[in-house]
């Protein structure tokens, strides 16, 4: 309760500080476009890393061993890959077109249809993933903080909503960066402490080699095709997550991109230490009989209990920071879609800043309500979250922004086809082959559709030149 009260106080102070500073849409949705690579890198990593890294990841290691690491092995590549594939064109095009959000950029480049389709995908994905974070907050409260799940979920979402509604991403960026630093420090500390409790890395590996050697192969107990599919999905999927892409809009200049991959990669590697450290140590401790587990997700809380109250407290704060930073981006993106993009689809002007603040609160309430009311839907769509955004948006951002021949019809059709295929493969009771990741399948279909429709139906007429083209 002390932790939650402290978080609420800090959130209230941040909301008060940022209300007078977020006076226009650029401040509210793009943090004023004044941020450097350090701030954006830390905040971007914090938004990218959810509670799953601290709780689900180590638990998954206990079940499938090294196979679980294929979800995070893309970390060294993703920072540079994002900047190469989508960051550079986004930063340049956002400046040229005055776009504030990913969906707005697609609208400026490909027209109203693409913007509307991207906005719908963003609203659905952000509300559902916000609901998943609300669920995670409830689990956090019960397992690590010792309060009821509902109390923890309402407190975490209310605190995040307070500063996000008041100051938009002007407040969100600052909070995310601080939360990112807290998460990185906590992850390194907890990983080191857990490994020390297991007798050090060598002892932990020796324990597992004797007790469960199958966990230590290159792919653990995961079929190799599935492990590779995870690697690709989480590698290329980073180029399609709107809460990742959003951070490129905050940079003060294109030159800030140069150091961004180093910051992103360093921060991410620090945070992922908890996955490997607690996962390896916890699995060894379980094999030694020093902790007991009912379910895989209980691994992190069990290790923290073994380490002592200080570890429980730090882990609770880190998980809280992880889910709050992720939720802040989702709330802001969904509010932008509701107040700017969907009105544009109906030929109306953008809503005011007040409307954006109300929409932020509305999205948060919808996320909590969905999280509480419909456990099955949340579980189903939460699993599909990353893949859904990958399937729907990867062709549009990775291929669409790089290929001059991409058209508005092609991009709109690609978003619809990729998103629908991913949802269908996730929802239908089919036994899919190990290598067939629904998100990747959707992205592949979307890419084919984008090319075919763009070639078959080219955009009519010349485009309007960019003002200030200088020729």
């Amino acid at each position: 309760l002390t932790v939650l009260a402290a978080v609420a106080l800090l959130a209230a102070a941040l909301a008060w500080w940022s209300t007078s500073r977020a006076r226009n849409a650029t401040e509210f949705f793009a943090a004023g476009r004044r941020a450097g690579s350090w701030l954006v890198g830390l905040a971007g990593t914090a938004a990218a890393v959810s509670a799953f890294t601290f709780v689900g990841g180590p638990g998954l290691f206990a079940v499938v061993g090294v196979g679980s690491l294929w979800i995070v092995l893309s970390a060294p590549v993703t920072g540079a890959l994002q900047c190469w594939a989508v960051g550079e064109p986004i930063v340049r095009l956002a400046r040229e077109h005055g776009a504030l959000t990913p969906q707005e950029l697609l609208g400026a480049r490909f027209g109203r249809g693409a913007r509307t389709a991207a906005a719908l995908v963003t609203v659905v994905g952000c509300v559902v993933l916000g609901a998943v974070q609300a669920k995670a907050a409830a689990v956090l409260g019960e397992t690590l903080l010792g309060v009821s799940g509902l109390t923890a979920a309402v407190a975490a979402l209310a605190a995040t909503t307070a500063y996000t509604a008041a100051g938009g991403m002007r407040a969100g960026l600052l909070a995310d960066a601080v939360q990112g630093a807290v998460m990185a420090g906590a992850a390194l500390l907890l990983a080191g402490a857990a490994l020390a409790a297991a007798g050090g890395p060598r002892a932990a590996i020796a324990t597992l080699e004797a007790a469960r050697p199958e966990l230590l192969g290159s792919f653990g107990t995961v079929p190799a095709p599935r492990a590779l599919a995870w690697f690709v999905l989480f590698c290329v999927g980073t180029c399609a997550q709107p809460h990742y892409l959003q951070k490129f809009f905050f940079l003060r200049s294109e030159r800030e991109l140069r150091a961004l991959p180093a910051v992103l990669t360093g921060a991410l590697a620090a945070m992922l230490a908890v996955w490997l450290g607690v996962g390896l140590a916890g699995t060894a401790l379980f094999a030694q009989g020093r902790i007991a587990l009912g379910r895989a997700d209980e691994l992190t809380p069990a290790v923290m209990r073994l380490l002592g109250p200080w570890a429980m407290l730090i882990a609770g704060v880190a998980v809280l920071a992880a889910l709050m930073s992720t939720v802040a981006s989702f709330l802001n993106l969904a509010a932008a879609a509701v107040t700017r993009d969907l009105p544009a689809a109906l030929g109306r002007r953008a809503g005011s800043l007040g409307a954006a603040r109300v929409a932020t609160v509305g999205v948060a309430v919808a996320a909590v309500a969905l999280g509480v009311a419909s456990e099955r839907t949340v579980a189903l769509l939460g699993v599909a979250g990353w893949g859904f955004f990958t399937a729907a948006l990867l062709p549009a951002f990775a291929l669409g922004l790089a290929w001059p021949g991409a058209t508005g019809r092609g991009v709109t059709a690609a978003i619809a086809a990729g998103g629908l295929l991913d949802l269908a493969l996730e929802a239908l009771p089919l036994e899919l082959p190990p290598a067939l990741e629904p998100g990747l399948a959707g992205a592949a279909l979307g890419t084919v559709v984008l090319v075919l429709v763009s070639v078959a139906f080219p955009d009519p007429g010349p485009r309007t030149p960019v003002p200030g083209g200088g020729r």
Binding site: E96, V236, L257, A406, V466
Partner: protein
């Protein structure tokens, strides 16, 4: 497939920039990934060696290397395709209207793009030319 997907995505940058250094960098990342994935496949049944290979070759080695390659090959202000403005009837993009009619609230890319196939002369970027 994994290597191909990553290379295709990363290849979007060389396609835009046409820089030999960047092609070499992306090729180096692809080679490293190919070696790492191939080794992981060969060591899939070896408990400790598989774990060590995966952590060292696929994680620890590229961790500093890939961001460094990006740093070394970075170029700002390079023109790319797909930057034509599409006019939306009833557009509600206030910033777009401001960008067209008034001063820009933030710094612009040194070389604004257009959708014309001729890329035109590149304006020198002091930050890039004088960089480390």
């Amino acid at each position: 497939v994994a290597v191909a997907a990553v290379v295709v995505l990363a290849g979007a940058a060389p396609a835009r920039r046409g820089s030999r250094r960047l092609v070499v960098a992306v090729g180096a990342v692809a080679l490293l990934l190919a070696i790492g994935l191939g080794g992981a496949w060969l060591l899939r049944a070896g408990p400790v060696y598989g774990f060590a290979w995966t952590i060292l070759v696929l994680f620890a080695v590229p961790l500093p290397l890939v961001p460094l390659l990006y740093w070394l090959t970075f170029e700002s202000g390079v023109r790319g395709p797909g930057s034509g403005v599409r006019e939306e009837s009833g557009s509600n993009n206030v910033e777009l209207q401001q960008a067209k009619s008034g001063p820009d609230p933030g710094p612009r890319s040194p070389v604004p793009g257009s959708f014309r196939p001729d890329p035109g002369p590149r304006i020198p970027d002091p930050g890039r030319e004088g960089g480390p």
